[in-house]
Amino acid sequence: MNNKRNLCLSGKNVTKVFGLGNKKNVAVDNVDFEFYEGDLISIVGESGSGKTTLAKMLLGLTKITKGEIFFQDKLRDISTHKKKKEYWTNIQAIFQDPFSAYNTFLKIDSVLLDCINMRGGKHFAMDKKIQLMTEACSFVNLKYAELTNKYPFELSGGQMQRLMIARIFLLKPKILLADEPTSMIDACSRATILDMLMNLRNEIGTTIIFITHDIGLAYYISDSVYIMEHGKFVERGTAEEVIIHSKADYTKRLISDVPKIHEEWDLTTV
């Protein structure tokens, strides 16, 4: 661990309530969190536990009912569109479904060129732009020469998700929010994508917030783990603490629900 650890994103009493009166539904309930720079943080929970709502609030896509979010120790201000845009240069996201993440009418070149232009590369010569794009593609084990002049729907799901990571590599945000990036991808490409996320962290120092329901993935990839149940964090700590020496019953149940290969899988508990 680093000696000097700066807070990247933190929250105090963050709450999100949907509906009013009888139909009131508290999706995220008074949560506090501290995400440090350069860490890989996992948020684990079942469907409906409020993971994605929290992610949307972090991204500034939905309003917060109560509480504050701090970005680099300063209160996050996204009151105007201009300020929001500035915030989004620092935080980027990868979503679950790679198939619907791309504009079908744009070629892959223009997807990547957009990223370069957004980071002050508008005046670069075409050679330089191509070199940057080739570099980004080779970072995710894709070949630029094979991708050029193609549309996103001509790629497989794993390739699309990798191209998404290439975009992030060009954009170089401070924080990357990955919302179940591997749940629609087969087990073999999943390993590659996880490795790429870890490389991304090592190469450009991005803080990665990884949201998943698979506690096995969280254990493999992350430094610290937050376990979420019904909008609350029931357990938090380093991966070793939470998953190997877990205290909360909910965490233990999540772990027992993962299919095992070295011990008997107990089917009677559900």
Partner: protein, 335 residues
């Protein structure tokens, strides 16, 4: 040896694209499933798992075309039947299918009970509605689903519940073979476990005689099925019992698949995952020799020229590689 419920011999099916190209998505596949047994099919996306599932039902719609081979269900040869006969007498009664997108399979404007009425009336038009309701209620309760579900619409159910309802509906006629195509990939771990428990329950109570389970999650296959078959680019590359396949995989591709397993157990964190490099070949222009040669770590010059057949080895196992199994195992041990 139990009674053979499903027997497939040298099945080949193809897609014809709109440019007239032939894509052989299932190439010379043979398999048998005995009574009370289940078979798991594993492989990357695009290797032909789902096409195999569709072909097994004998229900061919363009662009999918039947080329050669035999499929027999409980002694009946279905590859010679007309599509209409298959639809009326085989589907639902003999073979049931749970599609990959089962979550969206229910019409939101209908109650669950009306789907069941539809299924039963297609095969027994004269059965009264009260009897159907009683039968459905009994079946749902036995499988651990509340009977109130029957009078609800699909939008009122959660994802896991919807998936289990679809399974209950498709097995209501007690089919001999159940083909489950990734029934749990879209669910979280707890709902996934409930789905698996329900499938086990169906097998134990004898409502389904045998099962084919398709997934890319290998730890799941190990816990659910008796045998595992690994497919690559339309071909079977290895077959064996679940235990053999997980602990001593022989084919380099199976070995690679096992290397991508992640389980939350102590000590797995520092082990580097060994993903297989590269991507599967394009089925339109297949390489001449072994289809896996390009990505294989044990490739020889011979691999790229001669096609490889399935080789028998040990106790009912078979694999598709020109290198001897013992040598491959030695190689893995030295890694």
């Amino acid at each position: 040896m139990g009674k053979k419920i499903l027997e497939v011999k040298n099945l080949t099916t193809k897609y014809i694209t709109r440019f007239g190209e032939n894509v052989y998505a299932v190439d010379d596949v043979s398999l048998t499933v005995e009574e009370g047994k289940s078979l798991g099919i594993a492989g990357e996306s695009g290797c032909g798992k789902s096409t195999l599932a569709l072909s097994l039902m004998g229900y061919y719609f363009p662009p999918l075309h039947y080329t050669s081979g035999d499929i027999s269900v409980d002694g009946k040869l279905i590859t010679q039947m007309k599509p209409d006969t298959i639809r009326k007498s085989i589907l639902g009664k003999e073979i049931a299918y749970i599609p990959q997108a089962a979550m969206n399979a229910l019409n939101p404007t209908q109650k669950i009970i009306s789907f069941i009425e539809d299924v039963i009336h297609a095969h027994e038009p004269k059965m009264p509605k009260n009897d159907i309701y009683d039968m459905a209620k009994k079946r749902f309760e036995e499988l651990g689903l509340p009977a109130t579900v029957l009078n609800q619409h699909s939008v009122e159910l959660s994802g896991g519940m919807k998936q289990r309802t679809v399974i209950a509906i498709s097995t209501i006629l007690s089919p001999k073979v159940l083909i489950a195509d990734e029934p749990s990939s879209a669910l979280d771990v707890t709902s996934q476990k409930m789905v698996i428990k329900m499938l086990r329950n169906l097998m134990d109570k004898g409502y389904i005689k045998s099962m084919i389970f398709i997934t890319h999650e290998l730890p799941l296959l190990y816990n659910v099925t008796d045998d595992i078959m690994v497919m690559y680019a339309g071909q079977v590359v290895e077959k064996g019992t679940a235990k053999e396949m997980i602990f001593t995989p022989t084919h380099p591709y199976s070995k690679g698949l096992m290397g991508s397993i992640i389980v939350p157990e102590e000590g797995t964190r520092d082990v580097k995952l060994c993903a297989i490099p590269g991507t599967p070949p394009n089925l339109k222009k297949l390489p001449g020799g072994c289809r896996f040669a390009k990505r294989c770590a044990y490739v020889t010059s011979e691999c790229k020229v001669n096609p490889v057949g399935l080789r028998e080895y040990g106790d009912g196992r078979s694999y598709r590689c020109i290198i001897d199994a013992e040598k491959l195992q030695e190689g893995y041990a030295n890694e």
